[in-house]
């Protein structure tokens, strides 16, 4: 019984981080209709940002988080202006391959500049844990869950209660109608791409003290984000949140209950991704997908 409870607690805490990660990808897709294949690299840049702030200046990753997120968002703005903007009208596949190329460049540039060594950030809370009865909860995971919750709440508030947020949602709902309402769609695209990068970087900054930081950490995170977003339904934020907790639960359960589970847990995201695409491509809460 306590194993089940432990498993549930672990998956809820992990689900918080996954939610933040996947909301970034989902938001970017919802607005621009482009799947950001370089998203994992923004997560990686966020993790390195936090790592360097911590190792060079001794700044805690959570304090560095806003600055890191803004820095990566500015970088994303440059990427958007110089590459993505030119292919917005091209077939979806060109956009995907372009972003795939951008991701490759960022990833390998990072590997050359910062070497492929695995690094990690140590914080006062990353090695401690607290006990609730039989249940062991690492402090680092509580911190990430709380921060992720606050960030997502702030994002939802911003999307629903501010002029810009509403404009972004308008573009996501109906691009042409948004143009007629006088919304500068190109600016919303840029803004959503930057937001997407900022959320990725925030995820990365928090992942920096939970996972090891390497130039290649982005790709598995990208796949997990895909799995969550596809599971929840592309472009649906409530669906994405549900998908994040489902994936977190599935991974944790596999790790706990299946023999050799830690290794198999790596494959859960792929299985979920394939399974959902095959059996229910619209996801659990998503709109119908354009299959043709």
């Amino acid at each position: 019984m306590s194993m089940l409870l432990q498993c549930l607690v672990d998956s809820i805490l992990l689900g918080g981080l996954y939610s933040l990660m996947a909301v970034g990808l989902s938001l970017g897709f919802g607005v621009t209709r482009i799947i950001n294949f370089a998203y994992g690299e923004f997560i990686m840049l966020g993790a390195y940002g936090a790592f360097f702030c911590s190792s060079l200046a001794g700044i805690d990753p959570l304090i560095a988080l806003p600055a890191v997120a803004i820095g990566v968002a500015l970088f994303a703005a440059i990427v958007f202006e110089f590459s993505l903007r030119r292919v917005l009208r091209a077939p979806a596949i060109n956009q995907i391959l372009l972003l795939f190329g951008v991701g490759l460049v960022i990833q390998n540039l990072a590997a050359i500049l910062w070497t492929g060594d695995a690094r990690s950030v140590e914080t006062p809370y990353s090695l401690t844990a607290r006990e609730f009865g039989d249940i062991n909860v690492p402090d680092g995971r509580i911190v990430t869950f709380l921060v992720a919750t606050v960030l997502i709440a702030a994002l939802l508030w911003w999307l629903h209660r501010t002029e810009l947020g509403r404009a972004i949602r308008a573009v996501a709902q109906n691009r042409d109608a948004a143009v007629l309402m006088g919304i500068n769609v190109m600016r919303m695209y840029l803004l959503s791409f930057m937001l997407n990068a900022a959320l990725g970087a925030a995820t990365g900054a928090m992942a920096s003290f939970l996972l090891t930081v390497t130039p290649f950490m982005g790709f598995p995170m990208l796949i997990k984000s895909f799995a969550i977003v596809v599971l929840g339904g592309l472009g649906s934020i409530p669906g994405t949140l549900a998908g994040a907790f489902l994936l977190a639960f599935a991974e944790t359960a596999v790790a706990y209950y299946v023999p050799d589970g830690i290794g198999w847990a790596e494959g859960v995201a792929f299985a979920v991704l394939l399974g959902v695409l095959i059996f229910r491509p619209r996801g659990i809460l998503g709109q119908a997908v354009e299959v043709a």
Binding site: I35, S83, R86, V87, A90, A92, I93, N94, I96, L97, L98, F100, G101, V102, G103, L104, V105, Q107, N108, L109, A111, I112, G116, F219, I223, F226, A227, V230, D260, G263, W264, E266, G267, A269, F270, A271, L273, L274, L277, I278, P281, V289, E290, V291, A292
Partner: protein
């Protein structure tokens, strides 16, 4: 749309056959005469061109794969296991490798049903990464993360693997060329442009999807199967390497997607660029960096690839010649 241009003019077949013949002779002669370096280059050139042709075939039908390492990896594992478990030598082991690649590709075509565009692309990516995890987790079959060596007593001379790879590339290029002259090609193109409309015309998309993907999978598995006999060692990260997926897509995109010559030109150009970067920078990391840059530059500035750009540059000249001919007839 001058879409019918993409397969080349119909009169070019004898000339094309001559080119394929010459390429086949070179494929046999160069490794036979050359140094180990030439053998290595021929092997890589053949592999990269096969991957490019395989990827482009699927892309012709509107199926953009982001997981070609699936078929490469399956081909490698099938060839290796046929050798190690059943003592099959090099050449026969390639057949089950191709069969496995084709079977999994056909299965993928069936289960992805009518998924198109990005959804199909993501499904292929998930499949290849999923297979990598499975390969790590089944050490009894695949040797797990530690990998497996192929039975050294069965290994052919490197020269032979290079000849088979290069000849294979020529054969598959010829096959793609011959296919481009059949209704199959037009059916695929119709599917790419509009699957609903193609259905109205009496094309059964699923049948073509299965055929084209099976063919594509078999070609990539062939390349993977031959490469494992050359390399001798396989682990999940080598078999289901993202690098292979990138190599497969970069040739057609650089050379000219949906064309016959494009994947070949692009594949060879990619190899040349990879060699030059290795000479200048010496490190592996740079080649992926350069591939990324090639992808970005091709898509932004050369959406029709090298071949398309050359065609456009030559167009005024061909047009003038045609105009001169008409003028001559008229006078």
């Amino acid at each position: 749309m001058n879409a019918n241009r993409e397969s080349g003019s119909p009169t070019s077949l004898p000339i094309a056959l001559l080119c394929y013949g010459a390429a086949a002779v070179a494929a046999v002669a160069l490794p036979l005469a050359g140094s180990p370096l030439a053998v290595n280059l021929m092997l890589r050139a053949g592999s990269i061109v096969m991957l490019a042709i395989s990827w482009n075939l699927a892309a012709n039908a509107g199926l953009i794969s982001l997981g070609h390492s699936t078929f490469w990896g399956l081909g490698s594992y099938a060839a290796l296991l046929m050798g190690n478990r059943f003592g099959w030598p090099f050449l026969p082991s390639i057949l089950p490798a191709m069969a496995l690649g084709a079977a999994v590709a056909a299965l993928l075509a069936v289960i992805t049903g009518r998924l198109r565009g990005i959804y199909f692309a993501i499904a292929t990516l998930a499949l290849s990464e999923g297979l990598r995890v499975i390969a790590v987790m089944l050490p009894d079959l695949t040797g797990g993360g530690a990998g497996l060596f192929i039975d050294q007593t069965l290994r052919p001379e490197p020269r032979l693997t290079a000849i088979v790879t290069a000849l294979g590339a020529v054969c598959f290029a010829l096959l793609a060329h011959l296919l481009s002259r059949t209704p199959f090609h037009y059916a695929c193109r119709a599917m790419r442009n509009n699957e609903h409309a193609s259905q109205m015309l009496g094309i059964n998309p699923l049948r073509f999807r299965i055929t084209v993907l099976a063919l594509s999978g078999a070609i990539a598995a062939f390349a993977g199967g031959v490469n494992i006999w050359y390399g001798g060692f396989l682990d999940p990260d080598i078999g289901f390497d993202l690098h292979i997926t990138i190599l497969a897509q970069i040739g057609p995109i650089l050379g000219g997607i949906h064309t016959l010559a494009g994947p070949i030109i692009g594949g060879l150009a990619t190899l040349l660029i990879a060699e030059l970067t290795r000479m200048w920078f010496g490190e592996q990391g740079y080649s992926l960096l350069v591939y990324g840059a090639i992808l970005i530059v091709s898509i932004m500035y050369m959406p029709n690839g090298i071949y398309g750009t050359l065609r456009r540059l030559c167009a005024p000249w061909t047009k003038r010649r045609a105009a001169a001919k008409t003028a001559l007839v008229a006078s």
